[in-house]
Each structure stands twice: as C-alpha cells, then as structure tokens.
Subunit: 93 residues, 5 copies
Amino acid sequence: MIIGRILGTVVSTQKDERLLGKKLLIVKPINLDGTDQSGYVVAVDTVGAGFHEKVIVVGGSSARMAEGNKDCPVDSAIIGVIDTIDLTKEFDG
Amino acid sequence: MIIGRILGTVVSTQKDERLLGKKLLIVKPINLDGTDQSGYVVAVDTVGAGFHEKVIVVGGSSARMAEGNKDCPVDSAIIGVIDTIDLTKEFDG
Amino acid sequence: MIIGRILGTVVSTQKDERLLGKKLLIVKPINLDGTDQSGYVVAVDTVGAGFHEKVIVVGGSSARMAEGNKDCPVDSAIIGVIDTIDLTKEFDG
Amino acid sequence: MIIGRILGTVVSTQKDERLLGKKLLIVKPINLDGTDQSGYVVAVDTVGAGFHEKVIVVGGSSARMAEGNKDCPVDSAIIGVIDTIDLTKEFDG
Amino acid sequence: MIIGRILGTVVSTQKDERLLGKKLLIVKPINLDGTDQSGYVVAVDTVGAGFHEKVIVVGGSSARMAEGNKDCPVDSAIIGVIDTIDLTKEFDG
C-alpha cells in the first residue's frame, strides 16, 4: 500500500454502472517526510476520508477486496485514514 | 485508475477472438493540469468515449470487470468519461 | 495493453511443463511514432505473429486469458497483429 | 519479491474492517549491498518481524496468500525475516 | 516475462509456512545484450536453475501458476532456463 493525501474529486456521469454511487478521489502519493511525490492516482474512497487527510491506498486486484468494491472495475481504493506514522529515530529518508 | 485523453485507434484483424468487436483506443495519460504525460496505453473502450475526451482508465485484472470484458485478454479499459476534476485550492502540482 | 515489435525468440528446454509448445518471443515496446522504447518483454505468441510485425501485448493475469494460456505461468501475451494505428491530427507525442 | 528493512508503523483507526488487528509496517526497499532504495511500501506483517530486520516482501494479489490475509484489501505483505543473503563472488552491483 | 541471471540465495527461517522448502533466488534482470539492468528480484526457483544461468522469470499472480506455487505468497518465479536468445540481425538495442 502507499500513503497519500486527498487532492480532489473526479466527476463522471457517463461511466460503468458499477461505479454508480462511488466517490472517486484524486490522491497524491506522499513521501515519509510528508512532501508530495510526483504523479497521482484516482482511487475509490471506501472509508469516508476527508480532503487533505493522509490515507492508505491499496492497488491492483486487492482494491476490489475493499468494502463495496467486489467485482467492480477499480484498481485503487482508499482503505484507511492515517492517525500517525511512527518512524524509528535513525530514519533519514 | 488514471486519467487520460483519447488519441486514436488501433486496428487489428489477426487477433484473439475475444477481442472481436472491441474498440481499442490509444490513451495518453495526463497530469492534473491537463498536460500530457509520457507514454500511452491501449485500452478497451467500454463506455462509448469520444476522441480527446478525458477518460478514467482502469488497469490490471480489474479491466476485466468492466462491461463486456469478462474473461477477455485485456489489461486496460476505459470506464468513465470525465465531466470535471475538482481540485482543492491549495493544489499546485 | 502496449504496442511492440517482435525482435526475436527465446529458446528454453528446461522449463515449466505448461510452457511446452509455446512460442516465447522478445518484444520491444514502441512509441506511437514507431521508435523503440527502452527495455523489452518476453511474451507468449497466441496469434501467429511474424518477425518485426507490430503487435498488441497484454500483461499481468490477463495474459492467461489469451488463447491457450489458461492456468499457465505467463504474464505477457501477444494477442493481436496491428494493421494500422490511427492518430488524430493534432497528436504530436 | 523484494527485500526491505522495517522503518516504522502506520496507525489508522478509521479503516476497512478487514484490516482490524493487522500490523501495518513501513518498509524501505534496499539494494543488495544493504543501502536504501528510494521510496517505501506499507506492508502487512504476517511473520512477526522486528524493527530494522531485513524482510522479504511480496506484492500484488499474492499478498493475500500470506497467512491471515485471505480476501483482505492488502497488496503488500511481509512473508519472511531474512537470515542471510548469499551472493556469488563476482557480483558487484 | 523478463530475462535474468541468478546472483545468489536468500535464507530465511522465520517465514510463511507455504515458503517451506522453496528456494528463494536473487535474480538480476539483464538486457538483451547480456548486460545487467539495475535492481533485482527475489524469485522462487521452480525448474532447478543454477548460478549465473540465464533464466525466464514470471511475475505477478502468474508466478503462482508455476509448478508447486499454487496458493503460495509469491509474486515472482523462475520458470525456464534459457538455452539461446535469437535476435534478428537488425536489432541494435
């Protein structure tokens, strides 16, 4: 899984019917020091995450294991809102 | 999922029979500011997208969950046409 | 899926028995302007492609959906020979 | 699989219920000479690994094959603690 | 699939029980001219490959289709020892 922060929303009317009612969020992957990585991913929110919250994102077929995503055409899902990231002292990267 | 815009079509006569009747489109991944990323992907259109429309593309095994792709040898599918991308104000990447 | 051209063949005698009789080809991914990308992939040919033909290559678990690959340990398969790639005029990448 | 060392822990209260009780660790991929690679991955610990231990990490759908991860929305799991890495003499990379 | 050469072995005692008896090898991906690529992968040997032999490596869920890997938490497997790589004349990359 990766860690990201929520940047925005994708709105689509003409879409696969199994996406109906799903919230598609734009997530920016972040480094462990909180800075942004390049790129982004569009992920289905399955835990009610809020804007700019740090979240855990699962990718690939496992995104379909997240709540409500069974058999859906999604490859990325938000599965947790992060409270804290605890790094050991000697980490510097 | 990623966001892309449709650039063109791939025409193939000699192909897997489960690709018969499928529309294979060339999609250019784009950044959140609308500029092109490098590279491209060939994706099956499952929502009737038009040229240059911004679309949502799902990859991997989940592409087979898109309408009509069950058990097909495809790893990328267009599953939505994008109306708008709403980014929060402070986004700058 | 990606587009590539066939560069050569991999010959292996000591191999998984489900690879017996399969043609393992070396495919070079190409850009939309026909130039080579870096890297290569070893893919199972399932459509009888010829050397230097432009082909469509599917990756991941979906490679097992290609003709004859069911339950085989393969992650890349050639599923189509390309006739033409039609790009819209304003494409420049 | 890749080799990494454990850097820290991710704490999340608001999460998919199938993550309850799972230990989410931050793993830094390392090179064969022991130096850090860039990036990180959040992986479920399934073998009781300790901080800074070198571990084997499996990714993708196979992470769900690790002990206790069946049908869980996880794409990365720690499946072994490494005792030694034996490289042949002529290796220099 | 990719082509690599075997560099060494990973020894792990504390591991997922479905890895018991499996040989975990370190494989260096190589270019078509035989030079090393950067990076490495830890793969399960399923064909009895020897050190420095050139091998075919399958990744992702298809690694579980290799002999003996059913339902195992592995994402990379050696499925063939390469005899020869035959490239057509005009190849230069």
